[in-house]
Symmetry: C2
Subunit: 230 residues, 2 copies
DNA sequence: TGGTAATTGCGAACAATGTTCGCAATGAAA
DNA sequence: TTTCATTGCGAACATTGTTCGCAATTACCA
């Protein structure tokens, strides 16, 4: 019953044959929600605002979705369709790295995506296609089935967390030159002398490598530990 | 200004010297919020319910916290205090694995924690102590400062994601014997024949190793890729 | 052709949320 | 004793997700 469970969005009955033709569509609604989230963040995705965007009344949306959570599922799956799942490279590791890099740019296009991916499963058709493709990359390796699933899950988790850190430090310094309270707090913490290792780590030279190389190295590290090299 | 930013909770002015003595405390409020979340999930942590729990009016809480987001920060930092940061082992890797295993049991005690950790930074005193301890474990290695931070961040991200998967599959089959819609959907997907690799991975024998061994292996994998062995 | 029944769009309403405002009561400092 | 920052909080506001009931629509069937 609980309509906020993941998955319920993909179990809707086939389009009815009697009654008035639907004026809107799940695709249209999801697109509007995505546009809203891209521009103003996830919190801007309220039923009423989405409805205004598609030109309907708020209650009408519930003919297409069962709950707000279901709408978020639709959004996730829609952007999962932005993957290019064609040939990706030779070794399994190279293929998975390529997928992760694609994931990074999708997540940077849609900054609301990492928190969602880290928080709820995505099981729509596009997400399943991505998952299938990633598992295909692991075909032929001697990894056990359960480990493959684990590995792919960690792949997206690592990528999401990485992008989240990345965009967080992009925003660390406010867009105006004024340092926000976060910076004030951090320097107070580091000045206290109570956290020498933290202070040292923060004071050290920032990483030279670009973000793509960094993420690639992270993924390769993870995979090499699991027995995969390129 | 935005009072929902992380960190603002730790920049409050020192206790005033004039005026009536506070009847409540941030600790008391956080404890009540944690009890609520442990019992009924994060959504149960509403200002009004917490206030009822501590025996105050809803508006009174705003003398202690700036926003609901700040309350969540207090909760996160309070449970970060459950770490035992004493001697943990010899090699850096062994120490970090020990920390991750502690993290796992904390997260299992507080199922609302992983989504929060994956979503917002935690920078209170207890969280900083944990971070400092993890960085200390990496002292002496030839890892660059920025990489150390990255590594520790990934450590908690991996642990959180792992626990989230773990408790999700615990709950996969509903507590009653009736398979929920999720299961129906999954078998429909696998029966469709459109996802052979996915089906194979799911059909394969589940992992033999216990969750602690599994998480330990994940962490060791990650670290060994970064140049650390035990 | 006319009627039946399912389905759509949606105005109105409900319960719950986070948060702000203003005021009476408190109590340390002057 | 006066001052005044600070506390607790009732009341209110805006906004949220969601449900209900009804009129309009349209395919199917007698």
């Amino acid at each position: 019953m609980s309509a906020d469970d993941p998955i319920t969005a993909w179990l809707r009955p086939p389009p009815a044959s009697v009654g008035p033709k639907p004026e809107y569509s799940r695709e249209r609604i999801a697109a509007e929600a995505i546009a809203l989230a891209d521009a103003q963040g996830l919190d801007a995705v309220s039923i009423r605002r989405v409805a205004r965007g598609v030109g309907s009344g708020p209650a009408s949306l519930y003919r297409y979705i069962g709950s707000r959570g279901e709408l978020l599922e639709l959004m996730m799956d829609a952007v999962a369709g932005e993957y290019d799942l064609g040939p990706l490279g030779d070794s399994p590791a190279a293929q998975l790295v390529a997928l992760a890099l694609q994931g990074r740019s999708i997540m940077r296009r849609h900054r609301w995506l990492p928190p969602l991916l880290l928080t709820r499963p995505s099981m729509g058709p596009n997400s399943l296609a991505y998952l299938e493709r990633a598992l295909q990359a692991l075909d032929g390796t001697d990894m056990a089935g359960a480990d493959k699933l684990q590995t792919v899950a960690m792949l997206t988790a690592i990528t999401s967390a990485f992008v989240q850190n990345e965009t967080a430090s992009d925003t660390l310094m406010g867009q105006d030159g004024v340092p926000p309270e976060r910076v004030r707090y951090l320097s107070e913490v580091m000045g206290s002398g109570r956290y020498p290792f933290l202070t040292a780590a923060f004071t050290a030279a920032p990483n030279q490598a670009g973000p793509e190389e960094l993420l690639g190295a992270l993924i390769r590290n993870h995979l090499s530990g699991a027995g995969l090299r390129e």
